[in-house]
Amino acid sequence: MLSIPVEMKKISLSMMDEDAQCAALTLARMTILHPVEDTSNEQLLPEFPATPYFDVYQSLASRFTKISDLASEKFTQPDDLTQLVTLEQLQEMDGQLKVLWSLVSVVEEKKRQQHEKMQVTRQLVKSLQKFDALDLDLSRLTRTSRFLNIMVGTVPSANFSRLEKALSLAEFMIRSFYTGEGVQHVVMIGSSQQQTDVHELLKSADFRELVIPEELSGNPAQLRLDLNNQLEESKNEIIKLDKKLSDLLLDISPALQKTNELLILAKPYASLATVLKGHGGLVFMQGWVPADGEQEIKKQLHNNLQFPFHIQLTNPQNKELESVPSLLRHSWIFKPFQSLVSNFGIPNYAEVDPTVLFSFSYILMFGMMFGDIGHGAVIASGSLLLWKRFPSVTIIGVLAGLSSIGFGFVYGSLFGYEHIITPLWMSPMHDPVQVLLLALVWGAFFLLVSNLLAIRNYLVVGLTQQALYSGKGVAGLLFYLAALYSGYQLMANDHFGLFETLCLLIPMAVIMRYQWLQSRAGLFEKTLVVLIEMLEQVISSVSGTLSFLRVAAFSLNHIALAAAVFSIAAMMGPTGHWITILLGNIFIIVLEGAIVAIQCLRLEYYEGFSRFFSGKGKAFEPLKL
């Protein structure tokens, strides 16, 4: 039930520069090495031999991503995963892709320009529509005479007010005759002498003029047709450009496939750019590997490397424990729960991995809170339908559903009906107090286990004082046991004597003394900190235990909801009755099911994990292809 992350060993590998890429590729194929930077020998090994390779790799990868994002094609892995990629190969391909991207980029820019042109033309068409009803010679509106300059066009609404004031400085007048989507359709009039100044200003204000060719003056319909033709031309141009782009992408597809293969094979060595250090043809790297892979690593390196090398695998030292990555290995059934644990945090290398414990307690609590044979069966079978798209959801859903079915038999509940099946124990509604008490016992057990795990985690990393005297250590455990015992005595026997008082005060005194010694503040602040910490200890013990009352509350709530559905159904006719029962059950499964799932998670995270699990570990991230 309890496990710890996979045992790790530190690997130190020294080899000839010529073999570094082969070693990287070999280790990447094995997905066994979590590389780490070593800062201890910067003087001895000042070079980073993989950096030039990394730079070209980065440039090539970036160009490849940009182009392949436009291509819908899926690229395949190389057939031979042992092939080494030289720096020259990468550089050559990078050069090729640079040329290819410049071709693609030109087409993209032309497309952008066409889209912008279309947008402007559409606005001008709208402007023109406003003149349709007028019997007007349009050329008079856009004519520049000796003294007078008139212009019609559009300007972004955001710029209008400022432009109006600015134009007044140039003795120009502007009027808006129509407001479109984010643009004002305007007409301007002013002195021809100021034309140059105003022209510059209008460019800055993003003014788009409605240009009326001489031959179309006096004929708005013809002008609109002309603009529509321009729109059509732009659309055709975009289609042509799209076609050109897709032809281009088709032509370069083999080059992209080749690049994809090169990138896959080059990635491991490039990824080691900051890890590989060297001097005079010798390179060195460090990392963490699972201890059970030691022999295989040695064997593979012996088989693949050309020159002699030196490999050393050592157990992590105590001071290194925080930096060792955590590799969690679980069977397929626990994998989805591992993701939920990782949402909270990754266990430290020395910490207990709570995945299995979490899986059992989560499923158990879900069943306790949502015990119903019918609802459980719906959840389990519904989850099965998601198998292809969301396998993790299916596993959790099926297990939760089965747990729900199990507790459904215990409570004797089938789709909320309590008289069809004889309960193995009883329906929670028959004796709610007993159910609430059981929930408290479960909560106390849960918290005690959490406390024990916290003590174990402290001891493993050498924090003996904390394990013995802190609120989460042995003293905290004794305090909690004393609180449980005293509470029981008070409730059951109406007795709270000297023994109970001492049972509570002694661990409290130990915890407070420990806090006092740990605090580095002045006398007043120290006193305040110690008192508040102790108060927090008392409150969290009580509230943590009471928090588990929700396990009972939700099991009662489940029955109450079903009863509410039955009451409403009873008020309906035969058809309405069954529709209400159906909809009510769907409501219970979806809404209450989701709430119970979240509440279980909350109890695990806040009442369990926060007491023993730091979640500050580093995930094992192996070098891979």
Binding site: W101, S105, E109, R162, K165, L169, A170, K203, S204, A205
Partner: protein, 340 residues
């Protein structure tokens, strides 16, 4: 905001404000060596900085990151319109990255040089810096930028690029102008009381921008009055639209200075060059922001804090970088002349 939250925020603001380094003290740091400067900063601000010999931008990023962490703490209690306003205000820092990118690409600067000048904004970052750095030319970068939250600003930058080529000063002005217009729009969405209080501080910022750029447009770039006025940003505290229109028509710096409203005229009397005017206005902005820190309105206090913290960060970045690169003390002093 509840009374409890206001009390919390007010306390936080007081604590952070007390950690701001006094500007008179800042100028004394010029005479110290790098280690001494870092020790002083640690003592005064509680933030410890470490030098990275391999990465000269490391300290700049540490300074900016500490500022962002503090902003994040202060922004948390706000919600809705205030939150949106502050998130936008803090984008001011990202504009530095935007300008570095645009300038760098327009002038074909090497990518590693551009990268060194960029600041890591952590959670506040909107720009996809890596993708932008990977762009091969200006057009590709602008296309990518148009897909970000800065699309509006970038469209105007494109216009300047197409109209004026690589005029970097004009580009900076265009970006700043657009930022202030949008910031003022967000300010208008706040409660009336907040608008009045924040406007006191923001107005000075806008006046500074408008006056400086009016002088530059008219007398350095020789633009027409109409275009000069159009390129200014939203109206500020003293210089309203009508003032600016009147000033835009004037023919010399002296004429503009003598036609300024009295309060501004007093501050700028005896100054001749645009550089001197810039220094005086910057100092005046910081003085007004410092005063706003002691007022009761939380929105206005936080806004003032952002301005002061940005100025402090900029100062320390310039000072430390100058010392790291072993520049002459006088040169460093000139680089941060706004704080003289």
């Amino acid at each position: 905001m509840s009374g409890f939250t206001s009390a919390y925020l007010s306390t936080r603001l007081s604590i952070f404000s007390n950690r701001l380094i006094d500007f008179d003290f800042l100028t004394k740091l010029f005479d110290l060596d790098l280690e001494q400067i870092l020790t002083h900063i640690a003592t005064l601000t509680g933030h410890h900085y470490s030098l990275d010999s391999k990465d000269s931008s490391s300290i700049e990023n540490q300074l900016a990151n500490n500022a962002f962490n503090d902003f994040q703490l202060l922004i948390r209690p706000f919600s809705g319109r205030e939150r949106r306003f502050f998130f936008y205000a803090i984008r001011w820092f990202e504009l530095v990255n935007l300008k570095v990118l645009i300038r760098g690409k327009f002038s074909n600067t090497e990518i590693y040089i551009i990268r060194q000048q960029l600041i890591d904004l952590g959670d506040f970052a909107e720009l996809p810096l890596k993708k932008l750095l990977d762009t091969e030319d200006t057009h590709e970068m602008l296309r990518l930028l148009e897909t970000t939250a800065y699309a509006g600003i970038v469209r105007q930058a494109r216009q300047v690029y197409e109209e004026h080529g690589n005029d970097l000063f004009l580009l900076d002005a265009t970006i700043d102008r657009s930022f202030f217009i949008h910031l003022k729009q967000r300010l208008q969405a706040l409660d009336n009381q907040d608008i009045t209080q924040v406007s006191q501080v923001m107005g000075v910022l806008l006046d500074r921008f408008n006056l400086l750029w009016l002088l530059r447009y008219r007398f350095s770039y020789h633009l027409s009055p109409a275009k000069s006025y159009y390129l200014l940003t939203a109206s500020g505290r003293t210089l309203h639209s009508a003032n600016l229109m009147r000033l835009a028509k004037m023919d010399s710096v002296d004429e503009v200075l003598s036609a300024l409203p009295e309060s501004l005229q007093k501050k700028l009397s005896g100054l001749n060059t645009i550089c001197e005017i810039e220094t005086a206005l910057e100092y005046s902005t910081l003085a007004i922001a410092s005063k706003a820190l002691s007022k009761t309105n939380l929105v206005s206090r936080f806004f003032a804090y952002i301005i002061l913290r940005e100025a402090e960060t900029k100062f320390l970045q310039a000072l430390i970088k100058g010392k790291q690169l072993k520049f002459d003390d006088e040169l460093i002093r000139q680089a941060v002349v706004g704080f003289k």
